[in-house]
Every structure is written in C-alpha cells, then in structure tokens.
Subunit: 139 residues, 4 copies
Amino acid sequence: MELYTRIKESFDKQKFMHHIGAKLESVEEGKVSISIENKGQLSQQEGFMHAGATTTIADSAAGYAALTMMPEDREVVSVEFKVNLLRPAAGTKFMANAWVVKPGRQLTVVEAEVVDLDSGKLVAKFQGTMFSVSSGEAE
Amino acid sequence: MELYTRIKESFDKQKFMHHIGAKLESVEEGKVSISIENKGQLSQQEGFMHAGATTTIADSAAGYAALTMMPEDREVVSVEFKVNLLRPAAGTKFMANAWVVKPGRQLTVVEAEVVDLDSGKLVAKFQGTMFSVSSGEAE
Amino acid sequence: MELYTRIKESFDKQKFMHHIGAKLESVEEGKVSISIENKGQLSQQEGFMHAGATTTIADSAAGYAALTMMPEDREVVSVEFKVNLLRPAAGTKFMANAWVVKPGRQLTVVEAEVVDLDSGKLVAKFQGTMFSVSSGEAE
Amino acid sequence: MELYTRIKESFDKQKFMHHIGAKLESVEEGKVSISIENKGQLSQQEGFMHAGATTTIADSAAGYAALTMMPEDREVVSVEFKVNLLRPAAGTKFMANAWVVKPGRQLTVVEAEVVDLDSGKLVAKFQGTMFSVSSGEAE
C-alpha cells in the first residue's frame, strides 16, 4: 500500500485526532507532519494552546513516523515520551514535525518538534519510544 | 481564597479541559485529581484512549497540584514532563492523581498516575516540572 | 539461584559500579538499593555529587529491580530514563532505592529515588524503561 | 574571559570528569563536545559502556553548552534530563555533542547525542533542562 494512504487510514481511525481538529499534513519514510488549529477549544487558562494538545500532535506525528518504517501488518503504540515546552503556544496554527532517530524491529526511537506557524518559533521538543504491535494486539 | 475554589476557577478557564470532558475531582494541598470519560471521542486507532488524552489529564492534574503550593497571585505552566504508558487505556473512565514531589519558589517537581477506573489498573505514570509565573505573564 | 546472589554476580561484573565505589545494599523481588559514597571523586564544579553519578546509581538500581522479575537466563539493558534533580547532592553518602512499577515480558517500567543519607532528603527522582535480553545478546 | 577558557576552568573543577577520564574537546557558543575512553573501567556487566557513563558525559556537555550562553558570573546546574539508549555502547571511545535548543534567563533547554567513535553510530540521545545559578549558590 502507498505510504501516505496507509498512515492516513490509521490516522482517520483516531477519533481523538478528529476531535481536536488535527490534520495529517505529510508522510515520508521516517517523517510525518501533523497540523492543528487552535480556535480557542485547545486553550489553557491563559489562552495559549494547552501543553496536552501540543503533546498530542507531537505524539501522533512521532508514532506515525515510526510506523512508516515498520512492516505493513504492524500497528504502533507509544511506550513513553518526554516533552519540553519551550515557550507559550500563543499562535493559532501549529505544525508537529516528527522523525525517526533509530528504527528497530520492536522499539523505534523518535523525535518531534512543534512549531507555532504564526511566529515561526519552536514551542515544543519531543523525544520518545514507539513499540511495534500486531494490528489488533496491544501490550 | 479557598483552595478548591481557586483551582476550580483556573480549571474552568481551560477550554481544552472542557473540550475533552475532563472534570476536576478533588483538590488538597499538593494533591489534585482529574477524571475523564472516553465515550469514543478520545480514542486512537485501536479504540483505546489516546496517549495524548491520558497525558493531558495527567499534566493538568500535575500543574494544579503544583499550583496549590504556590502563592495566590501565581499561575502555573508546564516546563517539561515525561510519561510512561503502561498498558492500553482500554476502559471508559480514568482518573489522574497528581502529587508534588518537591515544591519550590520557581520550579516544582510533580508526579501523576492515571488509573483505568473500569479495571483499577494503572495505565500511565507521569513525572514533570512546573514553573510558577505571575498571572497574565508567561515565559 | 538465590535472588541476592544472582543480582550480586551481575553487579560485580559492572566495572563502572566498582570504579565509582557503588555498593549493592539490598535485593528483594522488584526492589533493589545501591549506595555510594562521595569522597570528592564524584563531585561537580561546586563540590556536590555530579548529576551523572546520581543518575548512574539510580539506573543500576532500577535495572536490577527489573532483573529480579525476569527469568534467570535473562539480562537487562536500559532503554531510556528520565531524572529530575531535586536539590544539590550536598551529602557524602547516598542511597538509590528502585522499584518496579510495571513488569513485562520485554519492557519493565521502573522508578527510583536517590536519598542524601546525611540530610535524609530526596535529591533525585528517576523513571525509566528496562528491556529484557538474553545473556550475551544485546539489542 | 575567552569562552573555551571559561568552560575549561569549570570543567577542571569537576572531579567526576577527571575520575572517569572525560576530556573537554570543543567549545562554541551554544555547542560543547566532551569525549571519553572506555578502557574497561566504565563497563556494565556485558562489557559495554555503562548507561550511567554515557549519560554523564551527555549531561556535562549539555550543561556547558547552556553555560556558554549565560552571563560570566553564572554557573549551571541540571534540572532534569531524559536519555534514550539507542544501541549497546560497544566501542572504546565516545563523543558527546551538545547544543542549546532554547536559551533562557533561568531555564535553558538542551540536547545532546553520544556517538561511538569506533563505529560512527549514535548510541544515545539526550534532552534536558539546565538552570542558571549564581556561582556558589545552588537551588
């Protein structure tokens, strides 16, 4: 299956991506980008995008970057990740760009950055581990 | 101001908490719990709650646990956090329980766990750093 | 093999533990403690124990806590970990206490704390993931 | 003071760097490299360099990368960091290269990688937060 199509099919099953308004922007081997627009629904108490929303698109992009390097019958789950929030996510549109640092049969190490498209500045840096599972299996 | 009221006022300003259906469950000095119900809108591709939603309530609970130990004129922002996803978040209702490990004038170290209330099992463990800012100021 | 003996044999092969003067203090199923004395050789520029030394004993204790819950023919390697340094490690003797949060066939999630035995205060909190490998195999 | 000299003076006070045989290799604004040789004394039970040693040079390089961007009267302490161990550190000589992701008056976010110089392969990826303190003060 074509790589974009494969990731898009899995992405479309993620109701949480739909719920927060995230869009799959691009897919290459080892690299995935996801965008999100904050129309207010994603804000924390000061009006900036919530760290949880920032992290969510970084995690999804990172997971799919890992999945592009796994065999077709696999799905991906997050083992763990760490995020540094670099400045307030003050803009209205953001892009999470993720890439694979080290692919592996079971564990894939990934990174992602989240950019505020209004200012062009980095708002978050993400580093984590993804696990390859059979579709339908988890753990 | 009474501690619960103070945290509730900030929580209610977090539109993202409302958007995902999170509820502030309890507030004590250094301890905050937030619950969430997955009616499908929070799911990833396999039907389990998305790691991003799990992380979001852990982060909010952890931030508010830190805020309970800061002076009344302060607000809290997340500096960084790390989450281990322990098993699929297969249930329908979850509770994030957060506590302060080390309070500080500027930096507060926090932990949180997320429990699947259907099974009683831990689905995530969170460790992070919160920063005290003046209300209205950030970074 | 008796649990303490099994862990001690692996610990004694860790030349780095010997080099920094670490001692295996106690071993139970899912729990391991390692102590270290800072006679100056472990200091950073201000005279406190270096974050790297603090992390090293937390990591070793955490790895061995995981190993106590793996079959006898397995060895353990660190996949990843995260440490929060809570205050200067000003004392002369420290204890890392580690415990298993979630055992698994392949991945085990662990936590550890490092206590300054002079003051009784916590100097570090550790959370990480260990991987079970065949003895002699790695990755 | 010249940048290399300033970092070298602080590095030379770190007795732990001396104890493990680490060398300050290069210093630029926002970038520092530290090397280490494993003559056996840094090994874990399988003969590879211990994750604690790998982390220690990444942490020192990252702290000094942050320090290059702080005023001359400041010192640096590690707030927290996270490391992914990507493959066994099988070589005999390693280089930690660290760079600043986001400088700040108080908090500086840093990354580092550790390369096995025998194979040219990445063995670890590090992401963390450094804190600026007055010399002599800590916490």
